[in-house]
């Protein structure tokens, strides 16, 4: 049985799905896009990205039984799991996808019907809604054999994964990363290394595979290179005009989040980087008339990305940096194949959301300077407390210390019901007036 499933998985991964997808692409009628004069030519890599992500989700149907399946939080050190050849599924990424396809709110309602408060993170509510109803825009989710969470991005994911563990009756591994209040101590590092070592026997048992150190090192190398390349991708936006916008980058983020440590992610970013470098050389901008350069704070408002993107582009405003997209370029590059465990501990515990707010401000200051940022849009996301608590002070400090104007949008990552069109419009218009004055 396993053998057949395994063969099927490989066949679909390497041959079947690509063929199928080419077929379905051909049959789908291409709608002639209204060329918007505000935007430069679209990135050709985007097609490739869609292919990769569609394949990833389609493959999940063949993963059950063929591969051990793990559901993983976006900040967890997945490199260790890759060494055991887990098929990994990222509920947060899936939540973003549901948000972008505007089905987030209805999935939230399913969870609310089961008693989950509307005040809880919408990624979590969406994911639970999917678990309870089986409904998802990607067809079907692979049942987990293991849950893998790290609280380096929030405590919320752990509360949420505890519910999943209870629902699916599968083990939950937690990578507990002490908060970096002032400094990270040796005892913190050894605690994290200790946990990683303790995971190995569990992972061996769930996957039925022995830990292969060399494979692990390979994964670490791939992850690090992908992260560095992603960093270079982002850095192309230092150019004027920037060859892409952060709204594009929100999409291109998917592989570094969910396919990190696999060759496909690295290869993709190399292709993307080439295209971007080429655009920089030719002076092609993401928007045709780049007059102001902005930075985005917090996770995207997935159901409004297109909308917002148009609204800013119309005014010659381009987003060139974001603390969010930067998160996958900032610390994963600390990885070191010679000290895989220690470096994992460092790379994952020092991420922006597990770090004090001084660090956050310094990071923003650096991005403002390096990317020539004129103003900030701060998304206050109900779902995400570690990202949002402190933003009001950040706003004040940005003005006091750097003279950079900013605007706060009260919204949410994936639940469009808490988005107030009117309120947002008024705030943005005031911000545009301030920026243009």
């Amino acid at each position: 049985m396993y053998l057949i499933k395994n063969l099927q998985y490989h066949f679909m991964k390497d041959l079947g799905l690509p063929a199928l997808m080419r077929f379905s692409q051909r049959t789908k009628k291409r709608r002639p896009k209204k060329l918007d004069t505000c935007f430069g030519p679209p990135l050709t890599s985007t097609g490739r990205l869609k292919e990769i992500m569609t394949r990833h989700y389609l493959l999940s149907r063949y993963a059950e039984g063929a591969r051990p399946v793990a559901w993983v939080t976006s900040g967890a050190p997945v490199e260790l799991l890759r060494a055991f050849e887990f098929y990994t599924f990222y509920p947060e990424n899936h939540g973003a996808l549901c948000g972008a396809q505007k089905v987030g709110s209805e999935l939230c309602e399913v969870a609310e019907g089961k008693g989950y408060s509307q005040d809880l993170c919408s990624y979590a509510r969406i994911d639970l809604g999917v678990c309870f109803s089986g409904r998802t825009p990607v067809g079907k989710l692979p049942k987990p054999d293991l849950l893998f969470a790290s609280n380096n991005i929030c405590q919320t994911v752990v509360y949420w994964y505890k519910v999943l563990a209870y629902h699916w009756k599968v083990p939950l591994i937690l990578f507990d990363t002490p908060y970096n209040f002032k400094d990270i101590a040796d005892s913190d590092i050894s605690y994290m290394v200790g946990q990683l070592e303790e995971m190995i026997p569990v992972l061996e048992e769930v996957s039925g595979k022995e830990f292969n150190y060399q494979r692990f090192q390979d994964v670490i190398r791939l992850a690090k290179e992908a992260s560095l390349t992603w960093g270079e991708v982002l850095a192309t936006m230092k150019a004027r005009p920037a060859p892409m916008t952060i709204f594009d980058a929100f999409g291109h983020l998917a592989p570094i989040v969910s396919l990190r440590g696999l060759p496909v992610a690295l290869n993709y970013y190399r292709v993307l980087l080439n295209e971007l470098n080429d655009r920089v050389k030719k002076g092609i901008g993401a928007i045709t008339d780049e007059r102001k350069r902005l930075m985005w704070d917090n996770i995207a408002i997935w159901y409004k990305v297109r909308d917002l993107s148009n609204r800013f582009a119309e005014r010659g405003m381009n987003f060139v940096a974001a603390t969010y997209t930067n998160a996958w370029a900032e610390t994963i590059s600390y990885l070191d194949i010679n000290h895989p465990f220690e470096s994992l501990a460092k790379a994952y515990s020092l991420v922006i959301l597990n770090n004090n707010l001084n660090h956050r401000f310094e990071l923003m200051e650096r991005l403002v300077k390096e990317y020539g940022v004129d103003g900030l849009v701060i998304h206050s996301a109900r779902s995400c407390k570690p990202y949002s608590v402190g933003q009001y002070d950040i706003k004040r400090l940005l003005m006091d210390r750097l003279g950079v104007p900013s605007v706060v949008i009260e919204a949410d990552i994936a639940d469009s019901r808490v988005f107030s069109e009117e309120q947002t419009r008024t705030r943005l218009e005031a911000f545009f007036e301030a920026m243009e004055a």
């Binding site: 089961k114 008693g115 989950y116 408060s117 005040d119 809880l120 993170c121 979590a124 609280n151 929030c154 405590q155 919320t156 752990v158 509360y159 949420w160 505890k162 519910v163 563990a165 209870y166 939950l172 937690l174 507990d176 002490p178 908060y179 209040f181 002032k182 101590a185 005892s187 913190d188 050894s190 605690y191 200790g194 946990q195 070592e197 303790e198 004090n356 707010l357 001084n358 401000f361 206050s380 109900r382 407390k385 570690p386 949002s388 608590v389 402190g390 933003q391 009001y392 002070d393 950040i394 400090l397 009260e410």
Partner: protein, 359 residues
């Protein structure tokens, strides 16, 4: 007994204690006691929120909001430091707002406790965290006297022992005290020195023994019994809170004793033996078992989930807990409200309807 402010003031002026403002929830108070510090816990100061809204979004819980308000209203001037345990995302970020952004000129300490599921590494780490905290505190407060620590650890166990006795009597319906009185006394431990808290508890124990009124028993789960009006309302209805699963009460006060000789070992052992808690990421099944045991012991008819609005750690577990309880015929009531906001008519109606349902 003196009011909170007066008491704290006296401890500082007359006994030369240092005062630390402590945010929720779990921290090694024995270490502070041993270093001549009076830990003053900040849970629900009775303030009108004026300034904190400029720093916190509307979707942040009122524990965090009121705690920050206390600082912003200048009511923490007399304190010698703050301690922030790693309780939840909101407190985590609050700690950094206070320490990094507000320009508060007081030492701020952070205490990270390992999360469940516990491994060997968790135990090693907790012990190191205790020692690390001591090392940081020593820079401000001078060296820790190890015999003092030993004494304070014993005293902490003594406090826990009397509290356990009180809880046991309550479970059996042999404590006369009203809900309001019981929690008023228990919550005095949030700022009293153990030298004063212990005699207070013993006095209360002696005075309050006697059979409780005959109404139905319930269990209260959540963060803290605030708004307090619910306690009096339950008293009026004749409902006894026979046990609780409150973060600021039984979940951290009913600490099982440790026989370890070394005080750090003893504190570590106690930490890992505490009742399951959301702020330590205890699994749902541990929490279910714990609640069911409490229901059974006290023959409770129902469980009231008294939630602080926006408290994620608590709210995530509620559907599973209520599901399991209902399966076993235990009634549940979920209420979420802001601290110090009185019980609205609507909430009072819910509580009364719940009472009508279980009696």
């Amino acid at each position: 007994m003196a009011k909170r402010e007066e008491y704290i003031d006296k401890e500082k002026k007359e006994k030369g204690k240092k005062l630390f403002g402590i945010f929720p929830a779990q921290y090694p108070r024995e270490i502070l006691w041993a270093m001549n510090v009076l830990p003053v816990e900040i849970w629900d100061p009775p303030l009108e929120v004026i300034h904190a809204n400029a720093h916190l979004q509307p979707y942040i819980c009122s524990v965090v909001r009121l705690g920050l308000e206390l600082i912003l209203q200048g009511k923490c001037e007399g304190l010698d430091g703050f301690l922030f345990p790693h309780t939840c995302d909101s407190i985590q970020n609050l700690s950094s707002i206070v320490s990094d952004y507000l320009g508060v000129k007081k030492p701020c300490y952070f205490f990270y406790h390992p999360k469940s599921p516990y491994q060997d590494s968790s135990r090693v780490y907790y012990l190191e965290q205790l020692k690390g905290l001591v090392a940081r505190l020593e820079k401000q407060l001078g060296p820790l006297d190890s015999s003092q620590l030993k004494h304070r650890v014993q005293q902490g166990q003594e406090v826990a022992r009397v509290l356990k006795q009180l809880y046991d009597l309550r479970v059996q319906g042999e404590l006369e005290a009203s809900n309001a009185d019981f929690y008023r006394v228990v919550r005095r431990g949030e700022y009293l020195s153990p030298d004063d808290f212990l005699p207070l508890l013993e006095e209360f124990l002696a005075a309050a023994k006697g059979s409780a009124q005959g109404g139905p028993a319930v269990i209260m789960s959540g963060v803290l019994p605030n708004p307090k009006e619910i306690l009096t309302l339950l008293d009026e209805l004749g409902v006894r809170i026979a046990h609780d699963d409150l973060l600021n009460c039984s979940r951290r006060l009913l600490v099982p004793p440790s026989r370890a000789d070394d005080p750090f070992e003893a504190l570590t052992e106690s930490y890992f033996a505490m009742p399951p808690c959301t702020t330590k990421d205890s699994s749902v099944s541990e929490r279910v078992d714990d609640l069911l045991a409490k229901v059974e012991q006290s023959n409770a008819k129902g469980v009231i989930f008294y939630m602080v609005k926006f408290c994620e750690p608590e709210l995530f577990d509620v559907p599973q807990l209520t599901g399991e309880l209902r399966k076993r015929g235990v009634a549940t009531l979920l209420i979420d409200c802001e601290l110090n906001q009185n019980l609205s008519g609507q909430l009072a109606t819910r509580v009364e309807a719940f009472f009508e349902m279980i009696s």
